[in-house]
Symmetry: C2
């Protein structure tokens, strides 16, 4: 039998981490709960465990469903089926299990809840290399990114949501005493407030980067009392199954119902996501994926509140630079990172037709293009570098779409660089693709007005930098953008860009160069997605990511304690009460 002391013990052991996280979400200064910490002993033997998992059933003790081979899961590196079976349950079964777990979980106190959630994150951190191998061989990320982006950064995003939820819930008092005079009679009441969860929640993950959005959604939900059904993409289940297993281990250990967190699996041939997110028992949906599906969810899910992160055609505007080298390298780096299979990758590079002002005179568009292509090739044609930065391509469809798009560009503009595979130094069969660079005009909007998933950038020639800015910000507002990038030495232009992208609701990086990827979004510091443009509604993470997942429900009754006056540390309150 569970009692809150088990959770509170975890709370005490992780309290320092939580307090530091709570301070960081307010200061927004650089902080990480996981980066730089010494890896755990638990993670030794990760490679062996990964190897042993291949071709074997993935055990989730007491999980609903029947073990079923996940045929869509194929490593982008080895191109071999992972051959892993997972429990497959119907949506009805999963919702029923979730509702059943919710009842007990909702009685767990706030500190205990936080303690258990912190321990869940800790257990994933302790197995970060093993988790990274699972991420790598499903998403196609390089091992470095799998450890950082899908590891520490994703855990930080989870911790950030956990800390925000804790803060928000802690602001609601458990009870209050209330008194007011009606004529000569004083009515005294005691009021108690409880936070009631909305749940169950369906958390739908994308194929290429599931952890980064799933962890925050899980902890926003679970902290606010909601059971979670994690629905990974059928081609990218393993890392999420592993997280589910570790999360459940904490629950089981303390005697709680492990079905607070479950896994929903399906096949590409018979997808269940639409059934899941429209199930009458599902009351919260967190979705990460394509704009088309995200929009379908926003339009069709009526029984649940919805949080989405979809995609944007993220713009770059080039106005003026001191020296073009660093910006070009920064853009090339951000485009190359994981072959641009990331929501924050730049796609549309707006350049003024007259060229880019530099300290050494104007850089003509043609020369900019040449140097951009060259910078991209310095990554994509050097296999060891490409393997580290580009990684592999998650699915075949990205390559097909790239080829189709290249044909479309050839009809109108110029293909400056063809997308070409590179030979992965370790995995001969790896599905790889270097970037496609297309030179187009403003009029070719149909080509660049949506997110083209994968390694493609458009260099879009604009009459001048002001037009470039207006178009880039206008597109961000109407088509959606998560990030935007401006390179300019002119402060008034920078100020106009800040206003324009703020209004469009896209985070802006100004003159960012150097070793940090320009598209990097830091938990605790960078707000990710605003909800002000079509790229999604879920901000990682501000108060809006937590509210709505629960409500405060009160009960009140006569206060029968004798002669007690409400005690208050606020003299102002006491003074006012005599007026009431």
């Amino acid at each position: 039998m569970y009692d809150d002391e088990s959770g509170s013990a975890f709370f005490r052991s992780h309290q320092e981490l939580l307090e530091a996280a709570r301070a960081a979400i307010r200061s927004r200064q650089s902080w990480s709960g996981y980066e730089g910490r010494v890896p755990s002993q638990d993670d030794h033997g990760a490679s062996a465990r990964f190897a042993a998992q291949l071709g074997s059933p993935f055990e989730l003790v007491d999980h609903p469903g029947v073990m079923t081979l996940q045929t869509d899961e194929v490593s982008p590196y080895t191109r071999e089926a992972l051959g892993i079976s997972y429990p497959r349950a119907t949506v009805d079964e999963l919702v029923a299990a979730a509702r059943s777990a919710q009842a007990r979980w909702s009685q767990v106190g706030l500190e205990a809840r936080a303690g258990l959630c912190l321990e869940m994150l800790e257990r994933v951190f302790r197995r970060i290399r093993e988790s990274a191998l699972y991420a790598m061989h499903t998403t196609g990320q390089g091992l470095g990114m799998s450890v950082a982006g899908s590891g520490t950064n994703a855990l930080d995003r989870g911790l950030e949501a956990l800390a925000l939820a804790y803060d928000q819930l802690a602001r609601v008092p458990n009870e209050a005493r209330w008194a007011r005079h009606y004529g000569t009679v004083e009515v005294r009441l005691t009021k108690s407030y409880r936070t009631v969860s909305r749940g169950p929640a369906a958390v739908v993950a994308c194929a290429s980067f599931p952890a980064w959005n799933v962890y925050p959604a899980v902890f926003a939900n679970v902290m606010t009392g909601n059971p979670v059904i994690i629905k990974p993409h059928p081609s990218s289940v393993l890392q999420m199954a592993f997280a589910v297993k570790l999360f459940r281990s904490v629950l089981t250990e303390v005697g709680l119902d492990a079905n607070l967190v479950t896994l929903c699996t399906d096949d590409l041939a018979a997808p269940v996501t639409q059934d899941l997110v429209t199930h009458p028992g599902v009351r919260i949906v967190d979705f990460t994926g394509s704009a088309v599906f995200g929009s379908w969810i926003e339009q069709n899910v009526r029984q649940a509140i919805v949080f989405t992160e979809t995609s944007g055609a993220n713009p770059v505007v080039l106005h003026s630079v001191t020296d073009a080298d660093a910006p070009i390298k920064a853009i090339a780096g951000a485009v190359s990172l994981f072959s641009a299979q990331m929501c924050a990758a730049p796609q549309n590079i707006y350049v003024p037709a007259g060229g880019i002002r530099t300290d050494d005179g104007v850089l003509p568009v043609a020369e900019f293009c040449e140097r951009l292509v060259s910078a991209l090739q310095q990554v994509s044609t050097v296999p060891r570098r490409a393997a580290a930065v580009l990684g592999a391509v998650q699915c075949d469809r990205t390559l097909t779409e790239l080829a189709t798009l290249a044909d479309a560009v050839r009809g109108r503009g110029t293909v400056l660089l063809e997308s070409a595979p590179y030979a992965h130094p370790e995995f001969e069969q790896a599905r790889t693709a270097g970037p496609l660079v297309a030179l187009v005009n403003l009029d070719d909007r149909d080509l660049y007005e949506v997110e083209r998933f994968g390694p493609i950038v458009f260099v879009i020639v604009s009459p001048d930098a002001e037009t470039a800015l207006a178009r880039a910000a206008g597109d961000a507002a109407s088509l959606g953008a998560i990030t935007s990038f401006v390179y300019a030495t002119d402060e008034p232009f920078i100020a106009r860009a800040e206003d324009a992208f703020a209004e469009a609701g896209a985070a802006l990086s100004i003159n960012v160069t150097g070793p940090m990827p320009a598209s990097f979004s830091a938990a605790f510091s960078d707000y990710h997605v605003t909800g002000l443009n079509p790229a999604g509604t879920a901000t990682l993470s501000d108060d809006s990511f937590i509210t709505g997942r629960y409500a405060v429900v009160q009960s009140r009754r006569p206060d029968t304690t004798p002669t007690s006056r409400p005690t208050s540390t606020e003299p102002a309150l006491e003074a006012q009460e005599t007026h009431a």
Copy 2:
């Protein structure tokens, strides 16, 4: 020309009030910003000003539109047309004016914004009697309720939302310094965060109690940077027009665009609310009104975020009492108050077939009914008391519906008390109605399963108290309820009721008797509407009432200040940073 010093001056003069409000939303103890304060000199001559307004155009300086007679506005007391013209503008014009005001307003600093909003509330407070007369002769409320419920309480709800918005915005820092090592290179960035408004907002008011929901919606919106278009019911414009005028006076005085707050008027014959709330330029909708229209908005408004308060069939469950007198009087009082034209009024009284346990033995259902009818009649048949408590009925339709419903009840159950008008001691023509009491069975669910607007209660005979509780809470969850009431001396039963109504998302009053109306909802202390059941989505007020109305958008750039390390008051942060 406006500068923030004008707003900041108001901030300083109201700062103490804001700080006390901020403390109250956390402590949830009894506090009011307006009750008990000495009325202002400004309010002298309220009656004369009201008289002068009748039959005259209502001037709103620089407001878009053409003065148009509001033919639907008829006093429920005198039954005479008010004969007031208001500016009537098209939805397009109002949205354009709002967007135009938004640009400048969004640059107003947080303190100045709060100062101007506090002053707006203060100006309404200073004219509280005049405002109350306008409320009375449009809504039908008695003068006492017009001063309290539509006056001080509504202002408190506005101040509560203002304080919550202030708190939430104040938690977002303006900027942060960020640093992280990538290999041997330290990347340093300065980040700036701005809160960007979503707006414009359409605030749709109900006819019978507009101020109580409009003020919080206005200040939640305006504080977060959004212009507001207030859309009163065509039969109940005057009080809102007055508020708009006073709000605008503050803006004009400091040189800001008064169209930050505008009034949208229409006719019952040609309503524009659907056009307004689905206008592509409207990004936020706050709606108070019928469940049918609220549901239409929730289903059809796709371009805006939506906050609704509709209605519920609020239940009472009678289990056991010490002495039945006080509870019966409390129920009768809550039903009588403003002829139950309030969202928190009880409607469905569940009684066990075997009677209600009391200290003096069991009170049979028949006797309970008799005593309830008697208690109701003690108010409704004494004209001076009825005038003070019941007030008048806002519209003819309520009476028609009451008559139809009485016929339906006669076919199935028993009409225990016919709704009858009372003779208003002051206004001979007043549209009045005492309560209708219907005795029905659990099976007559079609009669009581929706909110029946106006003075009607159903006494619903249930096999036993447990069934009564299960049905009452089940209905609250599936049909919607804002409040619920339980009378019981049995603590385990009370605990089950608390769980059941918490799960249903309805606030619960337990054994509440005495001079405070049992349905009274106190700003700063009582949470009103949870969003967990169909009675609406907008909680007055928690963080969810503020989030979504704005987003944080950031920009970041290299930190070029020499040698500066991020300063922090958090040693834990500094320690962690060295790991990063």
